[in-house]
């Protein structure tokens, strides 16, 4: 039998592991219960961006939260590497959003101005006309009418981030149990009783629900609404190439090992099966942006499911019915990882120095 553990994290994706690391660093005894390999795991299918452009244009608290996360990334990568020896390949030299439609370009420029107004000094971006762009990136496709650029945008190797978070947590004393799907959670007079699908019962004093899409099912048992849905994204992986692409964009990035990841579709679908139509679209987009990619071979493709809230912003919720139960879920878990492992852990601990996170309360959906 697993010994009693004060804090259980349900879900071992990048969100759960970051929170686990943060709580363990604060001295807690932390147990992570992760689901099965058949689960939909955004952590294993994502694009690896540490991205600010367009984050929170209409929601200043999210704009600030994402901004702080991007600023914290360099220190966080160093910390992970010192705990684990793993280099997550953070490269934060700025990123582009490329546009082939002038109206969309104009609209996105407005959004960035709004975002800059929310963030004040420290956030800068550029809107580059086609002329500016072809000067800066000779080789850019003629179909690109313009681009925006933000110097704080970057990327990491998302699979290595996942491994590093797990190892870092273990180095700080987190106990990780894989293939440990939770069937139900029940609040008791003192603490919580977790029933695993294999029949085992585990008693803990706190529960943080970080089960990605699995939270929709478990959340209501702890009094949360957990209004999350799947949003499918597809992407292509190419063969490794020796030349470094001279840019990073939200749709085309070159991983540290040389292959390209081309992505960015969004579809309301509950399955993780790719569609030829989307794959063709992605390939065409890549060649429009960088025509020299025309003869690069695609080796693999996949679809993965995003964990989406109705407005796209995170939910950080303390249960009102059952003190000691928390719901943590977000899109952009890569970008936000440095804060999940530090500031969010303070908030879960009700540390007086913790940030105020009411803006991410799930009750916002009931009020609106």
């Amino acid at each position: 039998m697993v010994p009693q553990s004060p804090t259980a994290i349900i879900g071992g994706g990048i969100v759960g592991l970051a929170v686990a690391l943060g709580l363990a660093t604060r001295g807690h005894n932390v147990l992570v219960l992760d689901g099965s390999d058949q689960d939909m795991r955004a952590t294993q299918g994502n694009f690896g961006l540490v991205w600010l452009q367009g984050k929170g244009a209409g929601h200043a608290p999210y704009a600030r939260w994402s901004f702080q996360a991007a600023q914290a990334w360099a220190g966080f990568a160093d910390w992970l590497s010192s705990l684990t020896g793993i280099d997550v390949a953070l490269c934060q030299q700025g990123g582009y959003e490329f546009f082939t439609d002038a109206r969309e370009f104009e609209g996105f420029g407005q959004e960035l101005r709004q975002q800059a107004a929310a963030l004040g000094e420290g956030f800068s971006f550029e809107c580059l006309s086609q002329g500016d762009l072809s000067h800066r990136l000779p080789g850019i496709g003629r179909a690109v009418v313009g681009a925006t650029f933000c110097p704080l945008d970057g990327h990491v190797n998302p699979l290595r981030l996942h491994v590093a978070l797990r190892k870092a947590g273990q180095a700080e004393g987190v106990r990780f149990v894989g293939d440990a799907r939770v069937a139900s959670v029940r609040a008791k007079a003192e603490g919580f009783e977790i029933l695993r699908e294999n029949g085992e019962t585990i008693c803990v004093s706190r529960v943080v629900l970080c089960a990605g899409l699995g939270a929709a099912h478990l959340g209501p048992q702890l009094g949360f609404c957990a209004p999350i849905r799947a949003q499918q994204g597809e992407l292509l992986i190419t063969e490794r190439v020796a030349d470094r692409l001279p840019f990073l964009s939200s749709t085309i990035r070159q991983v540290d090992e040389g292959g390209l990841q081309i992505g960015g579709t969004k579809a309301e679908a509950e399955n993780d099966v790719e569609t030829t139509e989307h794959m063709v679209g992605l390939a065409q987009h890549a060649v429009q942006v960088w025509p020299r990619l025309a003869d690069i071979r695609v080796l693999r493709s996949w679809a993965a499911l995003r964990v989406m809230t109705p407005d796209g912003y995170p939910i950080y919720q303390r249960s009102t019915d059952y003190p000691g139960a928390f719901l943590v879920t977000c899109h952009s878990g890569v970008t936000l990882a440095p804060l999940h492992a530090t500031r969010l852990a303070e908030w879960i601990d009700e540390d007086p120095a913790a940030p105020k996170l009411e803006a991410f309360d799930e009750r916002r959906f009931a009020l609106s």
Binding site: R240, V241, A242, D243, E257, G258, R292, D295, I296
Partner: protein, 86 residues
Amino acid sequence: MSFEGAEVLARPGESVAAALLGRDSAATRTTPVSGAGRTPFCMMGVCFDCLVTIDGLPNVQACMVEAREGMVIRRQHGARRIGKGS
């Protein structure tokens, strides 16, 4: 056909990978990350250890290509270049 300038013989219907393995066991490519040598391994299109350049086209899976008269095959060194003529 030829590999690195030396003549390689193949039976009709044989894959380029099979013909290369029949020749000797020297590496037919080096990997982009560690530079280690590789030879064809799975012979069914999944391991990508058999990459070679055929008639100027880089990163071709030798196990998925039928050997033909006159093919010019070269070792694949690391990753290919972007753009033609690499």
